[in-house]
Homo-oligomer: 368 residues x 2
């Protein structure tokens, strides 16, 4: 057995598997292919299509490879799958896969102006998977911490963005589906955003970490307000102190921002309302206030936020998001209480396409 | 739209999808299930089976869910897939998935003595995805760096294990398929291994990082010895200096170990032969010396390694590995040259099952 065979055996195996190239992004089309010699009907569904019923038929060649070319959709990150005789499967020839909660999906990243900051920058920050003790929740827990390019070789102190995920997500979501590292890298490299640390905790107090770590989970009575506030409290009592002890951080409100999407937008509202004066930058995304909520209670809390002072209050939401009415209620409540703020409205709904745009839009506004 | 619906909408969607539980590990059996109402024949193949032809038929219930219970295999990490009317698919209800090069596979982790150190320890080290400049290769590249539990809160300096992947792998392989963080966490927590930093670089000089980062790759003429040695040189000239500048490290040979599997075992041999006296712990895994190689050349290099001095030379290999003969040639060559060493032989072949065992076995021997 020669060294050459030993070394390259697995690479040759990978090469043989890779004969089907999918997806293949061309000038005006994208071609998807999958080998399924025994299939009767293979269809393609992509998240750029209007609905699941918009899926398109694929055609089989003599080798059993099914293919279809579709018009290249606008620059964006999409997910897609094949439907083989009624069964949804991912693309076995596409190494770009993302996990959304418990579900894995094949990814199509179409290049263009809108997605320029979603690709790797030249100057890249590091991403650390950090275990920290949370006495408030009673668990050793995991968060992801992004440090900007140059952090290791500098002695400077940095501001911190706390970036929170939504329901069904975990500490992994913003750095994968959200492309947070790439967006911050690109904005910082272009001089559009100031170098900052970005902390991405796990917002499910039942978990120590993402389900992929196979750790036991606890149950929690969500109707118990103490339980519901546990995570909010842990941000202020456990996470911020850990970050300010272990990273070179400017440890004051004017150098702390908090943003989150959906459930994490609710966490953003709660943590800033319960701890006014802790964060000078407050950015709830795709979240609002229920019309049936106690408005007087919100009024009192927003008055406290106003008294404590802040630099930026920025709401991002899509006009077809199912939280649209709630977001308008939040906007009106801030206005009624005299809190200067930005109500940033895009097209579209409750999607990562929008949350990436919001991060890319608001990061340049922070810490200036 | 109420806050509650906003917050829990995605979680409810996940709950509905999760009605099929697979795999379900029982006392003596493991049950696998998948919903495929339109399928004609569904089979299960697991890596614990003798061969692909050992796959077993699954049975369909009235709701279209196919299931099979198999005798629980011995404690180990396995991969498996379903074969639905001839098509291989992963388990959509199993969130534990691993990537082997370009291929994703569903994972079954059977608890037991052998796998005890593959689960999360109580005291967990962090894992950082680090970008560093490699002037030797001419790229900004990514490596993973594990720091042991307590690193952040201590002022002590640590020894470093450089842990190299095989052909088809990348910087992600040891921390995912290899369970390197869990193994080191558990050994350190139990007092069996000394706290150490573990550096996992990318051994493909054509790449800046794993293919999942979507970065351009270069081509390389592997027959050009200068190109072939580029990665070896970058370990000594770029990676070690970066690590010793940016981490609290004991920067001498007695506190440097290098180990690697397959292609990474070749890298281990090359970097220790080309730079004798740099590493005091030398641990090639599932690798050896071709019978057709220039033995006189190896003799000269091993004499230089012996002269420079080392603390441990440790070869791990499986007796049914296709490199078995080469490993025996390496063993004989070390003996002929008077290099004291351990030839650690297990059952089995060129598999992660063995590489995890080797790490779990040799880590307690390092830096003592």
């Amino acid at each position: 057995m020669s060294m050459v065979l030993v070394t390259f055996g697995q690479e040759l195996a990978n090469f043989r598997r890779a004969v089907v190239v999918s997806p293949a992004i061309g000038e005006t089309t994208v071609t998807f292919s999958i080998s399924a010699p025994d299939a009767k009907l293979v269809r393609l569904y992509g998240s750029w299509m209007a609905s699941a019923t918009s899926s398109v038929n694929m055609l089989q060649d003599t080798a059993g490879v099914w293919s279809v070319s579709v018009a290249k959709p606008a620059a964006e990150i999409y997910t897609y799958n094949f439907i083989i005789d009624g069964l949804s499967v991912n693309d076995p020839n596409n190494v770009i896969m993302q996990r959304d909660g418990t579900r894995y999906l094949s990814v199509l990243l179409v290049p263009g102006d809108k997605t320029a900051n979603y690709f790797e920058a030249k100057q890249r920050g590091n991403l650390e998977k950090v275990w920290y003790d949370s006495p408030t929740i009673g668990k050793n827990r995991r968060m992801f911490v992004y440090t900007p390019y140059g952090y290791n070789s500098s002695t400077q102190k940095y501001p911190v963005l706390y970036l929170l995920h939504g329901g069904g997500g975990d500490e992994d979501a913003w750095s994968t589906m959200g492309r947070a590292c790439q967006i911050l890298d690109n904005l910082i490299e272009k001089g559009l955003a100031v170098p900052m640390i970005c902390v991405m905790p796990n917002g499910n107090p039942t978990q120590e970490a993402a389900k992929t770590m196979m750790l036991p989970e606890t149950t929690m009575d969500r109707t118990n307000p103490a339980a519901a506030n546990m995570y909010i409290n842990s941000i202020v009592k456990d996470i911020i102190p850990y970050v300010e002890k272990n990273y070179r951080v400017i440890a004051d409100a004017d150098h702390r921002a908090v943003s989150g999407l959906s459930m994490g937008g609710g966490h953003t509202l709660s943590v800033t309302n319960e701890y006014p004066g802790t964060f000078s930058y407050i950015l709830p995304l795709s979240m609002g206030i229920s019309a049936t909520a106690n408005q007087a209670d919100y009024d009192a809390k927003f008055q406290a936020v106003k008294s404590a002072g802040y630099k930026l209050y920025w709401i991002g939401v899509g006009s077809s998001d199912f939280v649209w009415e709630s977001a308008k209620t939040l906007d009106a409540s801030l206005t009624r209480n005299g809190l200067q703020h930005t109500f940033f409205v895009t097209e579209g709904g409750h999607t990562w396409a929008n949350w990436r745009v919001y991060l890319n839009t608001f990061a340049p506004l922070l810490f200036k």
